[in-house]
C-alpha cells in the first residue's frame, strides 16, 4: 500500500515525509527543493505503508520536468492513498489541487500544514466544517515541529474517495 505526499512546491511535504518515516531528507524554503522522489516506510496499525515524497506540483497538468516526475508517480501506483499537503495560508489554491486529485478518484486525505503560520496571520479555518463538506479527513499540522502528525497518521486508513457529483451538488446548495 502506498501513501503519496502531494502538494504545491514549498509547502513542507519533505518535512511531513521525515515525520512519517523518520527519514532525514533536507528541507529548504524555496519552491522546487525536491526534484526527485524519495521513498520510505511507515507502519500504521501494524500495516506497512510505502511513503513517497513527491516533487511539488501546482496542478495535474505538468509545467516542468519536476512536475512531470510528480504525475508519473501518481500514475504508476495502484490505488494509492494521496495525502494532499496544503500551505494553510494559501488554502484556496491548495484545495484546487486537492479537487483535481479527488476528481481522479483517489483516496484522499488533506494535511493543512503550516497551521501556525495561518494562526499568526489571523487566518481562521473551520476544519470540522471543511471535513463535513469534503467528506475526506482534514488534519491541521505543523510538520516542522511535529504537531498534528500523530492525528494525520491515525486518519490515514480513513482516507476517502469522493463522489464529485455529490460534492458539486452539496457545495452549490451551500
Amino acid at each position: 500500500m502506498a501513501i503519496l505526499l502531494m502538494g504545491h512546491p514549498n509547502v513542507g511535504k519533505s518535512a511531513v515525509f521525515n515525520r512519517l518515516t523518520g527519514a532525514n531528507i533536507t528541507e529548504s524554503n524555496y519552491p522546487g527543493t525536491t526534484v526527485d522522489f524519495t521513498e520510505g516506510y511507515t507502519y500504521i496499525d501494524g500495516k506497512e505503508y510505502k511513503v513517497i515524497d513527491v516533487p511539488g506540483t501546482f496542478s495535474t497538468d505538468p509545467k516542468d520536468e519536476a512536475e512531470k516526475v510528480a504525475l508519473d508517480i501518481l500514475a504508476e501506483h495502484d490505488d494509492p492513498i494521496v495525502v494532499v499537503v496544503i500551505d494553510s495560508t494559501k488554502i484556496e489554491r491548495g484545495l484546487y489541487l486537492a479537487f483535481e486529485i479527488m476528481e481522479r478518484g483517489y483516496r484522499t486525505l488533506i494535511a493543512l500544514n503550516m497551521w501556525d503560520d495561518a494562526e499568526k496571520h489571523d487566518l481562521r479555518i473551520d476544519v470540522v466544517r471543511l471535513e463535513e463538506i469534503l467528506r475526506v479527513p482534514v488534519v491541521p499540522t505543523v510538520a516542522i515541529s511535529g504537531k498534528g502528525i500523530s492525528t494525520l497518521v491515525e486518519k490515514v486508513p480513513a482516507a476517502n474517495r469522493v463522489d464529485i457529483e455529490d460534492l458539486r451538488e452539496k457545495v452549490t446548495n451551500l
Binding site: S59, D61, K63, K90, E92, R93, Y96, L97, H121, L123
Partner: protein
C-alpha cells in the same frame, strides 16, 4: 470611477480586480490561484523590463513582464475594497 489596464501598467502598491487573462497564460496560472475575479496587488516592478511581483490572497508570485501584459486588471480609483471574489 474604474478603469481597466494591463497588470504590467499598475503602479507600486496599486490594487485591482483581475478582469481577464489571455488564453495562453490562463491555464498556467489557474493552479497558482491567479484567476479572474481576484483582487491583485502590485508589490514591485524590476527595472529594465524585469519581472513584476504581485500578491493575491496571501500568496506572492513573480511574473515576467510580458506575461503581466496578458493580464487585465480593473483598478478602482479611490476606494480599494478587499473583496476576494
Amino acid at each position: 470611477m474604474t478603469d481597466t489596464k494591463k497588470l504590467s501598467e499598475l503602479d507600486y502598491g496599486e490594487k485591482g480586480v483581475i478582469k481577464k487573462i489571455n488564453r495562453s497564460l490562463k491555464d498556467q496560472l489557474l493552479g497558482r490561484g491567479i484567476r479572474e475575479g481576484k483582487t491583485i496587488r502590485m508589490d514591485t516592478k524590476q527595472p529594465i523590463n524585469g519581472p513584476v511581483v504581485i500578491t493575491i490572497d496571501r500568496s506572492t508570485t513573480s511574473l515576467g513582464l510580458n506575461l503581466a501584459k496578458d493580464i487585465f486588471v480593473e483598478v478602482n480609483n479611490g476606494d480599494t475594497s478587499n473583496g476576494s471574489s
